[in-house]
């Protein structure tokens, strides 16, 4: 009989009128790797916050190590051995590896003085537990994301973790780093430590899970042994339907017309090599690849932020050398960045200001003064058209939800009447409902004649929107798929193959 460490029973949680979790039960055994799968907004993060004591459930109870809780505080959760590793890792970038690992012990001991030998010792022992070696005196800001994650795991272990919850731990990892993370998770398992692995990447889930739990719209829709569970089945549970591309209406690409954009032998040292492709009017062209395949660098090069070293970009058959974002914008290119908060939005400024910034130079009167009325009417028009939910366009953007914020970024570029839109991970951190609507929006924009470059590693997303998909690997375009000829499995396995090739080349 396996030992049960955590059990939550009949948990429900509502926020206002929205039901985030609806009568969900879940249990984790000692040494088990449990994968929690679901789309954005399915209730995964609410569950994490309930287990870690951040939220109190409206109904239900939590049983940890045999102790039952109606209301769990964060302190109690930590004392019971539950450790959450959030995506920001909660580290001090300016301190060393050793100090980051041992800082909680130092504080817990209540000592006023620091014994550096002891710090190093604690850190070394901690790292030994997961069989990794990192330079103890390295400053954390100089390390890769993967190494920082290992430090966060070590910290969790030293806090006597019995269950480590990892929230989307592979988002910023390369495939090789994912593999070493899996090794660590298996190591933990052999020490009797359980892992709750929260992810939406199904190929990773099949690889690591002992048991898979799937949430959809706040309900648990599946909970079973991971053996014999294939991606297709999981997908079915996640979305509630098989991805049926035949039901989607894709626009026609005007093949006969000359291409909107031609890219010829574009190079950027350390970024990408010999990239050539064409983008037609009405076309959605997907670019996919693993993190580090050069896909983001390519996007930045096409948007003028990271001008290419050599090669040509032609817009409507005319050569257009981009030296800056302003150049690109002048040629009718818009860019929706993956890092929305940092690169896309002015959080404290009004929705109107955020939308009109791309065309502010045109919203002036005869005196060259900003025409405030035109500004507001343009802003309101886009709020209306993209269905941005807000009581007023004068409110700050930070008052909006993730999905609505993303629409503001889209509105900014649509307002400039672009010929080409580059979308980099347009639905990252967007809830399921908005996601489908954004996909529909992408298709309808293409029907209106805009050429769209969609950069994403979300394969269902690519299939539901793109006419063609380019696969990048180590900075090169290695394969091209027409939508008609791809299924998710093919693309997924191509991605894995790409990784294998990367590994073997080393």
């Amino acid at each position: 009989m396996p030992e049960e460490i955590l059990r939550v029973e009949h948990i429900s949680k509502r926020f206002g009128g929205v039901i985030a979790l609806d009568d969900v039960s879940l249990s984790i055994q000692k040494g088990e790797t449990c994968c929690l799968v679901g789309e954005n907004g399915s209730g995964k993060s609410t569950m994490i916050k309930i287990i870690s004591g951040v939220y109190t459930p409206d109904e239900g109870e939590i049983v940890i190590n045999g102790n039952s809780y109606k209301k769990l505080t964060p302190m109690e959760s930590i004392r019971e051995g539950i450790q959450v590793i959030y995506q920001d890792f909660s580290l001090f970038p300016n301190l060393t590896v050793a100090e980051n690992i041992a800082i909680n012990q130092q504080l817990a001991s209540g000592k006023q003085l620091v014994n550096w030998k002891q710090i190093d010792q604690i850190a070394a022992e901690g790292l030994a537990k997961i069989n990794v070696s990192l330079p103890l005196d390295a400053i954390v800001s100089t390390l890769s994301t993967a190494d920082r994650q290992l430090i966060a795991i070590t910290k969790a272990l030293l806090a006597n973790a019995r269950i480590i919850i990892m929230d989307e731990p592979t988002t910023a990892l390369t495939q090789k780093e994912v593999m070493s993370l899996f090794k660590v998770i298996n190591d933990l398992k052999s020490q009797g430590i359980s892992t709750l692995f929260v992810s939406h990447k199904l190929n990773e889930v099949t690889e690591i899970a002992d048991r898979t739990v799937i949430f959809r719209n706040g309900k648990k829709v599946m909970d079973q042994d991971a053996k014999g569970l294939n991606i297709k089945a999981m997908e079915y549970y996640m979305t509630g339907h098989e991805i049926d591309t035949s039901a989607i209406e894709y626009g026609e690409v005007r093949e006969a017309e000359p291409p909107l954009m031609q890219v010829e032998k574009l190079n950027l040292s350390h970024g990408f090599f010999d990239v050539s492709f064409e983008l037609k009017q009405n076309e959605v062209l997907g670019i996919t690849g693993l993190l580090g395949s050069g896909r983001t660098e390519l996007a930045l090069a096409l948007f003028g932020e990271l001008p290419a070293d050599s090669g040509r970009i032609l817009i409507n058959g005319k050569e257009a050398p981009f030296r800056s974002i302003k150049d690109a914008a002048r040629h009718g290119i818009g860019y929706v960045p993956d890092d929305r908060i940092r690169q896309g939005l002015f959080l404290e400024q009004s929705i109107h200001n955020n939308i009109v910034i791309s065309i502010i130079d045109k919203l002036v009167n005869k005196l060259r003064f900003v025409n405030n009325q035109a500004k507001e009417s343009v802003g309101d028009r886009w709020i209306d058209q993209l269905d941005i939910k807000t009581p007023s366009g004068e409110l700050a953007v930070k008052s909006l939800s993730g999905g609505n914020q993303q629409r503001v970024v889209l509105a900014k570029w649509l307002a400039s009447n672009p010929k080409i839109l580059i979308l980099n991970g347009p639905t990252v951190g967007v809830d399921v409902g908005s996601k489908a609507e954004i996909h529909e929006l992408i298709r309808s924009l293409a029907k209106q004649g805009i050429g769209i470059l969609l950069i994403s590693d979300d394969i269902p997303e690519l299939i539901q929107t793109c006419h063609r998909i380019l696969l990048m690997r180590a900075g090169r375009i290695v394969e091209e798929f027409k939508r008609a000829e791809i299924t998710e499995q093919i693309l997924d396995s191509e991605l894995v193959a790409a990784t294998a090739a990367l590994g073997s080349r080393k």
């Binding site: 404290e348 025409n371 405030n372």
Partner: protein, 345 residues
């Protein structure tokens, strides 16, 4: 679309105006302070509201006021300009040297105007060039504004020191005094200039695309770059405007004191302009020109009022510094409680 907007321009101007004078928290708070202080000093000092004392305030506050506008623009971009005072001194010194060294002693009276105009242009040019150097270092090289302008502060002061050999330049033609110490219809000319520049700055920051972009850049420079805004050019323009406003201040100082020196105002003048910006609640991306105007008046009332009240007391002119510090702290604390209450609601 154009036809539609044309007839609405008047209407738009009106709504824009109403919006602009819409009194928000910081403005109300500052206005309240001005009124309270005025009543207090009017009650305790009979001379406080006399025409003479008001005129004398009108001569004193424009210098620090215009310099504060120069400071405010750079704070809006997310930077700071520690070289405002050094720039105004450099502008005054170069213009002053031009008038004393290059202008012939014996000169036809009708030519004096030409020389004065040339001196004015030279001062403005100095402001432009100093602003350009700041803008270049900050926008194009990427030096943190506080370090860049601290370095140029030393550099500009160094040029003034070298040019004047550390002495004060004096002996200008009498006409120089017009700008700084004469009145028009009973209103001090410096004050008129200050009001005009306040309005210009308001228009620039609130009605032009440059102002719009400046605020967006101050809010999030990465996002403004990704929105197709030329951050470098905007920063360059902001620091050039700051430099020109500083140069105008230099002209006023030179005209009022009939002298130009490398060390006029030294560091405390710069800190005072920052103090005014802080008092007016200016932060990167946000801040109102009108609040700067009221903040300047607040400080002037405090200093004139206490000066009268403590007349004859040793070191009376220094009490204002003490009072300014206290006022700033009081405003901070009031703002804290206002914010806390807003959060509760």
């Amino acid at each position: 679309m154009k036809e539609q907007t044309k007839p609405q321009v008047v209407n738009k101007g009106l709504t824009g105006f109403l919006k602009a004078i819409r009194l928000d928290g910081q403005t109300l708070l500052l206005l309240g302070v001005v009124i309270a202080l005025t009543i207090f000093f009017a009650a305790t000092e009979k001379k406080f509201l006399a025409a003479r004392s008001i005129t004398s305030m009108g001569f004193q506050l424009p210098e620090i006021g215009i310099l504060s506008l120069a400071m405010m623009i750079t704070i809006l971009t997310g930077g700071i300009n520690l070289s405002v005072n050094a720039t105004s001194n450099l502008a005054a010194v170069t213009a002053g040297l031009f008038l004393t060294r290059l202008m012939p002693q014996e000169i036809a009276p009708e030519l004096i105007g030409v020389y004065l105009a040339a001196a004015l242009l030279i001062a403005l040019l100095v402001g432009l060039l100093s602003g350009m150097l700041n803008g270049f270092l900050i926008g194009y090289i990427g030096v943190p504004p506080i370090l860049a302008t601290l370095a140029t502060f030393t550099f500009y002061t160094g040029i003034s020191t070298g040019l004047t050999k550390g002495t004060t330049v004096t002996g200008f033609p009498d006409q120089v005094a017009i700008i700084g110490s004469k009145s028009l219809l009973g209103i001090p000319i410096p004050f008129i200039i200050f009001v005009l520049l306040t309005i210009l700055t308001y228009l620039l920051l609130n009605q032009t695309t440059f102002g719009f972009k400046t605020r967006m850049l101050g809010t999030n420079p990465v996002a403004s770059n990704f929105s197709g805004i030329d951050n470098k050019a905007i920063l360059m323009r902001a620091y050039i405007i700051s430099g020109i406003l500083s140069a105008i201040t230099g002209i006023l100082i030179m005209s009022r004191t009939m002298s130009a020196a490398y060390e006029y105002g030294t560091t405390t003048y710069v800190l005072l302009t920052i103090l005014i910006s802080v008092l007016a609640g200016v932060i990167p991306g946000f801040g109102k020109v009108i609040d700067i105007f009221i903040a300047v008046i607040t400080l002037q009332i405090l200093s004139t009022g206490f000066h009268m009240m403590l007349a004859g007391v040793r070191g009376s002119s220094f009490f204002k510094d003490f009072a300014w510090g206290i006022l700033l702290i009081v405003i901070f604390v009031i703002n804290y409680f206002i914010r806390a209450r807003q959060k509760q609601e």
